[in-house]
């Protein structure tokens, strides 16, 4: 079963962080990623550029509209993600708890754990259409 771990945190805090701390934080992320690659859970993952680089494409009255900015203005923003292969939700939660952003005290980071629709089921739904 695959789960997407969506890392939400306050990007302003990240921007304000001193370079030395940033370096240490990135190192922790590097080690964490290494560990889940080694354990066989890692499928994909990356940090995202800040929401100031985001563009939204949306449907409005039958047309597509391209606009500057993220999907929603919130206190926390989607800052990165991991795609992991786990035997069940508990394993995915255990991995989410190890993500450096939630381990950092006072970061206010939130990880959303979302299961993917399994391939076979997606294929069946597509075939039924």
């Amino acid at each position: 079963m695959q789960y997407l771990l969506l890392i939400h945190d306050d990007e302003k805090q990240w921007a304000k962080m001193p370079e030395a701390m940033k370096g240490k934080f990135m190192q922790e992320y590097g080690e964490f990623t290494q560990a889940i690659v080694k354990s066989g859970h890692f499928r994909a993952g990356s940090q995202l550029q800040p929401t100031s680089t985001a563009t939204t494409v949306r449907e409005k009255n039958g047309k597509t509209l391209t606009l500057d900015g993220p999907f929603a203005e919130t206190k926390e923003q989607l800052g990165g993600y991991y795609l992991v292969e786990c035997k069940d939700l508990d394993e995915a939660i255990a991995i989410a708890k190890r993500i450096p952003s939630v381990r950092a005290s006072g970061s206010g980071a939130v990880i959303e754990v979302r299961p993917l629709v399994p391939m076979s089921e997606a294929a069946r739904t597509a075939a039924a259409r």
Partner: protein
């Protein structure tokens, strides 16, 4: 045992075992329903089976195979059928009940869903009964159950007892659900709503199950003790007209001695944990109240000390409030009153109510009256409102000699 009793007593155990073998909540529930219907049709004519539980499990398993066969062409569930047709021991395994409880009380489910799912599956209560006990429309509760089961399946919440490293955390969630069920039944047990009493009984049953299945854990014992000690006093908490009766005024001869003895013995075991758990300490306090021959002989210094322990492991303004009241009883109202000044509990009627009672006992009637009014503006429970109104009348009515009140 008739089929109704069997359903009541064994439903959760049988379902727990079926969920493991068929690997699917809905399929297990539907097949068990089929099996009970089959029993209803066959047993009156043929007589019940020698081992009704095994019969129900075996029948439900076959019904599950039938149901899966019907789905096979559409979805290709051959593996699942093959697994179900392997010979199996048709007796409930205690571990399955524990798996079911931990799955129902998984923190990834909302607290409302945890409670509903536990009562529906582990206790086998009907959806309608749960809805009525929690004063929720039946469709809302059904929706809650459907959504929870869909999440268990979709997000693959495991059907397992958690690993040791998270067991304590997960057990806390389970105990919170059990205590919530108990409190829902206990705190609103005014009137004759038997469903409410049912909730207390179910919570105590769950507590017993947890102490049996996790014999090395202290907190389930603490919680079971706490529930038994409260439940022992249930009938004396309200008077003939449904009015609220204070602990000190309750008829102690009507307390359930067997429950108190059982609770007190469990407290001893639960308190052996270091540090002691939250439920164990609360149960120890309840035991001191329950074992005092008269209200006047209550060991208030010991109770105050236990609230101090509780505040250190589980800091909360409500605990501080109780500690202040215990100190007032042990050392005099003025000591408690001083502690109350520092407690911040906005909107909570018991804080001004406690202040009012201490002021009344100090003979400061005007201040007491204004504190009673403050409490009355916040109280929501009718029985408690009547109690506060009676006290307010006392302090504003014809003056008595100072010192005559208590």
């Amino acid at each position: 045992m008739n089929l109704g009793d069997l359903h009541r007593r064994e439903y959760g155990r049988i379902l727990a075992s079926l969920i493991r073998t068929v690997g699917d909540f809905d399929l297990a529930e539907d097949s068990l329903q089929d099996a009970f219907e089959a029993a209803l049709a066959q047993w009156p004519a043929e007589g019940p089976s020698q081992n009704p539980v095994a019969w129900l499990i075996a029948t439900a398993r076959h019904k599950a195979v039938d149901r899966l066969r019907r789905r096979v062409l559409a979805e290709g569930k051959r593996d699942q059928i093959a697994r179900l047709l392997e010979p199996q021991e048709d007796t409930p395994v205690p571990l399955d009940s524990l798996r079911l409880i931990f799955t129902c009380c998984h923190p990834a489910l909302s607290p409302e869903a945890q409670v509903a799912l536990t009562l529906r599956t582990v206790c086998g209560l009907e959806t309608e009964a749960i809805a009525r006990a929690f004063v929720v429309p039946v469709p809302t509760l059904s929706q809650r159950l459907v959504r929870a089961k869909a999440k268990i399946k979709g997000a693959r919440i495991p059907y397992e007892v958690p690993e040791d490293d998270v067991l304590a955390d997960r057990l806390d969630t389970v105990l919170a659900v059990v205590y919530l069920v108990f409190n829902e039944g206990y705190s609103a047990s005014f009137g004759a709503d038997l469903l409410r009493a049912d909730l207390c009984t179910e919570a105590i049953r769950l507590g017993r199950l947890l102490t049996e299945l996790l014999p090395a854990e202290r907190e389930p014992k603490g919680l079971l003790a706490l529930m038994l000690l409260h439940d022992a006093r249930r009938d004396t908490r309200t008077g003939d007209d449904g009015e609220f009766v204070l602990l000190e005024d309750q008829d102690r001869s009507r307390w359930d001695r067997a429950k108190i003895a059982e609770g007190a013995a469990l407290v001893q075991e639960a308190l052996r944990a270091r540090p002691p758990g939250n439920h164990a300490v609360q149960a120890a306090i309840a035991a001191l109240h329950a074992q005092a021959p008269t209200a006047g002989e209550t060991d208030w210094p010991q109770i105050a000390a236990l609230y101090g322990v509780l505040a250190s492991i589980y800091p909360s303004p409500v605990v501080e409030l109780n500690r202040a009241v215990a100190i007032a009883m042990a050392d005099g109202p003025e000591h408690g009153l001083a502690l109350l000044q520092n407690i911040d509990l906005p909107g909570y009627h018991l804080l001004p109510a406690a202040r009012a009672d201490l002021l009344r006992r100090l003979g400061r009637r005007d201040e007491a009256a204004s504190a009673y009014r403050e409490a009355l503006a916040l109280v929501t429970n009718d029985a408690e409102r009547r109690y506060l109104e009676r006290r307010l009348r006392e302090v504003t009515g014809c003056p008595r000699r100072v010192g005559a009140t208590r």
